[in-house]
C-alpha cells in the first residue's frame, strides 16, 4: 500500500469538516487559523468562487527532508512525511525550502516546534484512512492507494473533459506527490504554485553535495603536496645533490 489522497476541487463545498477533524485527530489546539500555521495543518482556501483543502503534499522526494540538517523531517517507508520535534533544532530551513510552503513554525514560544500535516501517520499505519478524508461529506477528499487514485483521477478527467482541466496537480509536481488534485480551473488561477515545479528538487543540491568527499580529499592532498614541494625547494633549492645527501644524513 502506498497511501495517498485525491482532492477533487469541483466537489469541495468549503465546510471545514476536514480541518476540524484534523485538529482532533492530531490533538492540536482547537482554535482554527485562517491560514496554515504550526497548529492548523489543514485549511480551506477560497479562490475564484471555489474551495479546496490545503495541506502537505507528501512528496515522493521531499525537499524538507533533504534540507533538514538533523533529519527531523522523515519520509516514512509507508509514504507520509513526518516530523520529529525531539530531533528538530529549529533552523527553519524546511519552511524556506518547501516548494509548496507548507511547514509552519511556532513563533511565539521559546521552545518551538514546526507543524505540518503528517497524513495521520498513526491512523494510516494502523490501516485506517486519514481523519480529513473520513469526514468529508461530499467525497471531495478520498483516501486510497496512490496508484488507484491516479487512475481514478485520469478516469474522471476522461469522463468529464469539459468539467476538469487536463492536469492532475501532484502527478509530476516536485517529482510526484502522495496528494493529487483535480480542478475545474487552471491550477495557477487557483493559487497553486505551478512555475518550474516539474522537477525533483533535492536532486539539485545532491548533484553538488555528493562530490564533497572528492573535493575535500583532493584539496587536502593538493595543499599538503604543495607544502611539501615548496618547503623542500626552500630547504634544498640551492644545494647540489651531494650536499642534500649530507644534510639528510645529519637529520
Amino acid at each position: 500500500m502506498n497511501p495517498g489522497m485525491l482532492i477533487d476541487i469541483t466537489k469541495c463545498i468549503g465546510c471545514e469538516a476536514c480541518s476540524r477533524a484534523c485538529k482532533e485527530a492530531n490533538n492540536l489546539p482547537p482554535e482554527m487559523d485562517p491560514i496554515l500555521t504550526w497548529k492548523t495543518w489543514k485549511v480551506i482556501v477560497q479562490q475564484k468562487g471555489l474551495f479546496y483543502a490545503k495541506a502537505c503534499m507528501h512528496c515522493d522526494n521531499p525537499t524538507c527532508v533533504s534540507v533538514c540538517p538533523v533529519g527531523a523531517m522523515k519520509k516514512t517507508e509507508l509514504g507520509p512525511v513526518v516530523y520529529h520535534p525531539e530531533i528538530c533544532i529549529g533552523c527553519r530551513y524546511c519552511l524556506q525550502a518547501c516548494p509548496f510552503r507548507i511547514p509552519k513554525y511556532e513563533w511565539n514560544n521559546p521552545t518551538p516546534v514546526v507543524g505540518k500535516c503528517i497524513m495521520c501517520y498513526g491512523r494510516v499505519s494502523a490501516g485506517k484512512p486519514t481523519a480529513c478524508s473520513s469526514v468529508c461529506p461530499t467525497g471531495a477528499t478520498i483516501f486510497g492507494n496512490h496508484d488507484d487514485l491516479l487512475r481514478e483521477a485520469k478516469q474522471r478527467i476522461g469522463l468529464n473533459p469539459n468539467l476538469y482541466v487536463d492536469h492532475i496537480y501532484g502527478e509530476k509536481e516536485a517529482g510526484g506527490t502522495s496528494i493529487l488534485y483535480l480542478a475545474p480551473l487552471s491550477f495557477a488561477e487557483l493559487g497553486f504554485n505551478t512555475k518550474g515545479m516539474e522537477q525533483v528538487f533535492p536532486a539539485l543540491t545532491w548533484k553538488v553535495q555528493k562530490e564533497i568527499p572528492k573535493v575535500f580529499s583532493i584539496t587536502g592532498v593538493m595543499m599538503m603536496g604543495l607544502w611539501w614541494i615548496i618547503n623542500r625547494r626552500e630547504k634544498y633549492g640551492d644545494k647540489t645533490p651531494d650536499e642534500i645527501d649530507e644534510m639528510q644524513k645529519h637529520q
Binding site: L36, T37, V65, S66, V67, C68, P69, V70, G71, A72, I87, C88, I89, G90, C91, R92, Y93, L95, Q96, R101, K104, Y105, E106, W107, N108, N109, P110, T111, P112, P202, T205, W206, V208, Q209, I212, V215, F216, T219, G220, M223, M224, L226, W227, I230, N231, E234
Partner: protein
C-alpha cells in the same frame, strides 16, 4: 603602546554611553527572545522564516574568516613570507568572526539547546549539515592555530614545537573546511 590605567576604564565617554545603551537594549531583546519566543523578538513569520541578519552573519563573520585561511595558506603553504607579520591578527580575526556566527546561531536557532544534534543526527543530503560541520571544525582549527600565541606566552616549549610541526596540517584543514563552507553558502 599606550598604558592601560584602571581608572580610565570607568571614565565615562560618549561612545561608552552609546555602547552601554546598545547593550541594554540587546539584553532586553535577548530576554524576550529566550523567554517569549523568536516571533515576539524579531517579528519574523511563516512568510519570512529567516532574518536579514543571516546575510550580515555571512558577510561579516564568515567573510572576515576568509582572510584566515587565505593568508595562512599563503604564508605556510606557498611560503610567501611577506604576509607573515599579519598571520596572527588574521587568525584571531577569523576566529572572532566564526565565534560571532556561532553566537548569532544560538539566538537564531529555535531550539538552540538542541544545537548539538548536528553532531549526532546526520542528514548528509542537507547543505546545512555541511555548513554546520564546517563551522564547528573550522572554529576548532582556528582555535588550534591561535593557541600558538598562548603556548608561547606560557612558555610551554614542547607544545610550541608540536604546534610548529602541525602547522601545515592545520592550515591545510583550514583551507579544506573553508573551501566547503564558503562555497556551500550560495545554496
Amino acid at each position: 603602546m599606550a598604558e592601560i590605567k584602571l581608572g580610565n576604564i570607568f571614565k565615562i565617554t560618549f561612545w561608552k554611553v552609546v555602547a552601554i545603551g546598545f547593550g541594554l537594549v540587546s539584553a532586553y531583546v535577548a530576554y524576550i527572545r529566550y523567554f517569549r519566543g523568536l516571533g515576539y523578538a524579531t517579528h519574523l513569520n511563516d512568510q519570512f522564516p529567516w532574518g536579514f541578519w543571516i546575510g550580515f552573519d555571512v558577510i561579516s563573520g564568515v567573510g572576515l574568516a576568509a582572510g584566515g585561511f587565505t593568508i595562512t595558506a599563503l604564508v605556510y603553504i606557498f611560503n610567501i613570507k611577506k604576509f607573515k607579520p599579519i598571520v596572527r591578527s588574521v587568525v584571531l580575526t577569523a576566529f572572532l568572526g566564526y565565534v560571532l556566527v556561532i553566537v548569532g546561531l544560538m539566538f537564531d536557532l529555535g531550539k538552540w539547546y538542541y544545537v548539538w544534534h548536528a553532531i549526532f543526527y546526520w542528514n548528509e543530503h542537507s547543505v546545512m549539515l555541511e555548513v554546520a560541520w564546517c563551522v564547528m571544525l573550522y572554529t576548532t582549527v582556528l582555535l588550534l592555530e591561535f593557541s600558538l600565541t598562548v603556548f608561547e606566552r606560557m612558555k610551554w616549549d614542547k607544545l610550541v614545537k608540536l604546534h610548529h610541526w602541525l602547522t601545515p596540517l592545520l592550515v591545510t584543514l583550514g583551507v579544506m573546511f573553508s573551501t566547503l563552507h564558503q562555497s556551500s553558502l550560495g545554496s
